[in-house]
Structures are given as C-alpha cells and as structure tokens.
Symmetry: none
Subunit: 202 residues, 4 copies
DNA sequence: AATGAATGAGACTTCATTCAT
DNA sequence: TATGAATGAAGTCTCATTCAT
C-alpha cells in the first residue's frame, strides 16, 4: 500500500508529526485534560500502541507541541530581527502582524488559552518558560534598538516595555478566543496604533 | 453537632459556601479537570454525599463560583459608577486599582488563567458570558461618560475602548500568573499611565 | 435483600475480607502478576470501584493477605509456646503438625510457592520479612527451651537449628505444590521422625 | 557486520544463547511476568524482531532456559554417578557440594525461587516435570546403591529418601534467596551432616 | 441534612507479537 | 537473518455520581 505516492506526506516519520498535529488541534478545543489519548489516536489515524511508541507519556506530546512552537517562534523573530537593525519601528509592525495572525488562527489561540491548565511535568514547565523567555528577550532587544534609533521612548527600560507588549499580545489572544477569530480584523489597525502609542509613550 | 453555637459561621448554608471556597482555591491551582470532587470535599471538610447534596454536578460548583464572582464584580462597579458621573477619569483610576488588586491575588489570578479549559456546560458558558458582558458594559458606560466629560478620546467608540481596556486587564492577569503576584507592584504606576494614555489617545 | 440473614457473613466490612479471600485464592493459583484485579473482583463479587475503595493498589491486597498470615502464625505459635515451657519436644510435634496441615492446604501451599515473584513494594517486603522473623524467632525460642530441657542437641545453636527447621518446612511446602497436597499424608510420620532426628542430632 | 571474525563467540547461534542468557538473569531477578521481552532484548543487545525470530513466544525462552538446566543437571549427575557405583556416600557428598554451589549462585537461586509463578504452557510444564524427575530418579538410584553398599538406611525406600533429599535441597535454595547467597558457607558443613544423618537414619 | 460505601465507565499505559523492509 | 515501527488487547487505577442508612 501507499506504493504510488512518491512524496507520501505520511512517510518518513510522518506518524510522529501526525500525532503532534492531532494532539494540537484536539487540545486547542478541549484543553489537555479533556483530550484523551484515544481521541488523539483517532484524529491522527493511529493506534494507541503507535502513540506510545513515539511518546512515552501524554505529557510528552504536549512538550513536543510546545517545542515545535518554540522553533516556529524563533523563525518568526529571526525574520523580524533582520528588519530591526535599521528600522525597529518597522520590525515592531511586523511583530504586530505576527500577533494578529496568531489571534486569527483559531487553533493557535485556543491552544494558547488552554495552557493555564497543564500537567505538572518538568518538560512542560521548561518548554513554557523557554517560549516566554524567548519572546521576552527578543522583544526587549527590538525595543532597545528602537530606543537607540530614537523612535521609542526611553523613560521606561526596554525590558519593561517588552513586558507590556507581551501583556497586550496575550490579552489580544485571549480576546480572540472569547469572541472567535473573526472580529480580530476590526481590531487590526487599533492594535497597531495602541502598540505604537505604547512604545513611543506619546 | 453544632447545636450550641447560635452564631456558628458554618451554620445556615455555611457548608455550601465552604464547598465553593474550597473548590475555588483548589481549581485556582490545578484547574477544573485536575481538581477532583474528593479534593474539594477534603479541603471543605465535607463528605462526598454533602457535596452532591448541594451541587448535583461538579460543573455546578464552578457555576456557583463564577456567579459569586459576578456578584462581586457588580459590587465593585457599583462603587466605581458612583464616582464616574462626575469624574470618569477618577473612576477609571479606581478600576485600575481594582484590576491591580485582582492581579495581586494569587488565587484569583490562578483561577482566571484556568478558565480556558472548562467543561461543556450551558450554565458555565452562560456565567462566563455574563461576567464578560457585565465588565464590558460597565466599562463602556464609564468611557462614554469620560467622553461626555471631554476627558477621553472620541476617535474610537466607547465600546471599542472598553474592549481594549479588557484586553489589557486580561493580559495583566495572565502576566501575574506567570511571574507570581509579586512584581505586580512594580507595574502599578505603569499600568495606570498606559491605561490613561489609551483612553486619552495621547 | 439479605434481610433474612441476621448473621450475614458479608456484613460489617465483609467486602474487604471477601476481597482478601478472593485475592488469596486467585494468587495461590496464578501468582501475583497473573492475577488481575478484574479476576479478584469477579471472584469476590465486587466491582472494581469497590476493590480500589478498600485497597489503593493491587499490591496492598497482597500486603493485607500477608499481614493476616502473620496474625495467624502468631496465633499458632501462641498455642505452641504454651506447651513448650514444660515439653519442648511436644511443642515441636505440634509445630510439625501445623506445617503438615499447611502443606495439605492447596491454597496455602500454592500461595507460598508464588511469593518468589512479588512486586517491588516496601509494604510487601516488610510483611515478608516480618513473617520470616516471627517464625525464626519463635522456633529459636522453642529449640532453646528444648536445649534447656536437655531433649535437644547443643552442638548447634538454637538459632541454627531453627534455620534448618525452617528450611525443612519450606522444602516440604514446595514439595506439596509440585505433587499436590495428597501424598503429604504419606510423608507425615517421616517428617516427624526427620525433624526429631534433626533436633536431637542423633 | 561480524564478517571478519571466524571464531566470533556471538556467531553461529550466539544470538540465541545471548537471548537465553539475558532472559535467565532478568527472570532471576523479577520473575517471568515482570520480565518483558523488551528488557530481555535490551539485555541481550538484540532487537525484538530477532527475539521472535528465535523464539516464537516468550514462554519458549523459558522452556529453553529450563532445558539447558536439564542438560546441565544431567552432566552433574553423570559425574556423580561415576563415583556412586563404588562409593555412594562419597557421591552423596558430591551432590551436597553441587547443591551448595547452586545455592551460592544468586542468579540460579533467584531463578529457581521464581518458578512458582510460571505461564500455563505445556512445554514449560513438561520441562519442569522432566527436571524434577531427573533429579528424583538419579537421587533414588544413588540412594539405592548406598543401601546396597550398606552405608544407607533401609527402613525407608530409596525413593522416599530421595524425596527428602530433594525437599532439603529445595529448602536450602529458598533460604539462599531470602538471606542472600552469603551465609550459605556457614551452613555448608551442617548441610553435609544433616544429609548424612538423613540417609543413615542415625 | 449528612455520610461514605458502592458503582462502572473510561483514562493512561504496557506488552507480546507481527510484518514490511 | 535482522530490524523496529505498528498493533490492539488487557491491565491498573481514577473519579463523578448514587443511594441506603
């Protein structure tokens, strides 16, 4: 079987990715606890045996999801940072765009909103911490560049401004979950304005 | 038992409140699903039979918690609204104070962060919706007064500004959970400033 | 139901004892690992919920079985000790009788033979150790009395003789398992003779 | 791989022996059920595929272990029998030595103690029976020679004496497991004495 | 009103075994 | 011959909920 598809998407470790993907969208809806491994298996088209072949524990899929999120975040910031050196304000606009896209993604916003209830597990805690540190540090660096370029306020430290940017982004994500991703478009320009106001201090 | 204490704090429905209180603090730590009715019973000093005597379902305690939150929110806004008629900006400061207090309350912030993963239950959904509508409407009214008093921007509708205030407050609550309630004090004056900036549009 | 039986054997904690009894006879046949909690529940006429209401863990039933064995052993030795003060040799005959009865009990012998494969569990290890210590100490005391009464050899310490008595008893129990409890009767008088020979050193 | 070593110890069925050896020592510690095929594979440095290539079933490794034990027992008795024709008592001393050596071997004693809990499998049952018959018959023959040489008691049949020798040996093995193989040395001379006493009936 | 024993569906996980490569 | 991904039955245990007392 499967002989006729030379680029079979399910080939070469595809099972593992399918499980991660299935777990991600299941948990985005119901949260970690309300998502059973059986649901994940069904969604991924995989037997329970296969599930535990790749992930010794249900918590380990969560870790895998979080880690792939970190990788993605790193990519995004790599692109943003490329702009920031010359135009921190422009880079910030890119970040706003990125946040708005995340807020428009039902799965992503749902998954995020659910991270408040997560198992006690060292790997999970570590991944969550790493993701947050990554965002915080990259935003801090971005703001520091803006301050150096004299386009951002200096009455607050870059680190502090970065914290408020994070708070705003998290709040927006939460809003998206409650109202549905539609409606984010209406907030688009306001978000950019408010972020601009925040970093300029005007 | 308990017959000789006419002012017993545990009498007259005290059991019910004890259960609500216990469930609240348990769920604030572990979330709804990771909190078993047995844990709640132990924390409340009550048998499982008593638990289900007062609440036919675990979800019903959650509803009760949310409803008591609504009552509390109504109280808070009643006080705020008393000021708003003459000094909307001052009322907004009161609201900021209220939000900062919530963020400093570990249980409250924890409980809030956990509401992303909640059972499918009409009562729960209704209570969550009601709480949000309450805050949104009261804030909208407050901002509208500010606009009438010419102390708040009018390039955005009052409803829209209220939404952003909610986003900011939610984001702050989320931050409090991740960093621990300490550290909120440092953000106190910045929060007031940013809110002020937001409503004035400066 | 059950209204007509004033001395209902299943009343007053009978469930717990029924589970212990059922587990005992199941494990006597298949051993600990090959006995599932479901089998035990079925044999005890109890639901899985009830099982785990009384025993948090499957290993805990094993502990309970072992502990009830210790209680029984203590009883037996109490009776034997009553004789030993005046007639150690007669007491030893009582012990032989006791061992032969155990060997004739299919369940007991089977259960015993299966204790080589037991879960890693502190309670289990402790109970096994306690049982062995009990038998060893009581036998040692018995032999010491025999030495004082000049009816038992003194070229070996009482403790050492007790060890050999234990080895002989264990070996006999093992034999009973392999051959079936029938056939023990044929060994009865030989066992008494050999034990006598052993303690006298003749 | 392994192509260049003509005397490679792992070649030519070395895999099969490695699996048997690994299974033996794993089971000696945990027993049959608590030893997974995965553990055996890991200990043998072999994949699960290879495992099931050589042994269709986990029970079949156990059979192989038991059969190799039979072969070994046959060797031992071959040596003992060589002596018995002229000196049954000396041969019995050799057997004592053999038993004591087994008791000093942690793996062997552990494995033996675990045979009480064994899968329902005709091959296993047959092998166990064969091993026991072998020992019983050889011991019976030995004792019969001793009786003919007038160095052993005749008030009991040779078969009966053989049974008691087996009981004593099994008991000693069990004792070794409980106390650890150290401590066997202290029992060495006593064992020889007691066995001597037993067969002479003195 | 209060208790806690009883229930059984369902969760996570293990493991012997198969089979395509 | 060797591999290890895949399978699914079965096992232990959790938990919301009921009900007789």
């Amino acid at each position: 079987m499967e002989v006729s598809d030379p680029m079979n998407t399910e080939k070469q470790g595809g099972r593992r990715d399918a499980i991660i993907e299935a777990a991600y969208s299941c948990m985005a809806r119901g949260g970690y606890d309300r998502t059973s491994t059986a649901q994940i298996c069904a969604a991924a088209g995989v037997s329970s045996g296969t599930f535990f072949h790749y992930f010794p524990t249900k918590a380990d899929v969560l870790v895998a999801i979080l880690e792939s999120g970190i990788v993605h975040t790193r990519d995004v910031f790599a692109r943003i940072r490329a702009t920031a050196a010359q135009d921190a304000q422009g880079a910030l606009d890119l970040w706003c765009e990125h946040v708005l896209q995340e807020a428009s993604d039902d799965d992503l916003a749902g998954f995020d909103s659910v991270l408040g209830a997560v198992p006690d597990h060292p790997g999970v805690a570590a991944a969550l911490k790493a993701e947050r540190a990554l965002v915080r540090d990259d935003l801090t660096e971005l703001v520091a560049l803006g301050q150096a370029q004299a386009t951002m306020r200096t009455d607050l430290t870059a680190a502090r401004i970065a914290i408020w940017l994070g708070i705003l982004a998290d709040g927006l994500l939460g809003h998206a979950v409650q109202e549905g991703s539609t409606g984010i478009d209406e907030l688009r320009s306001e978000f950019v304005d408010i972020v601009g106001q925040l970093v300029r201090g005007t």
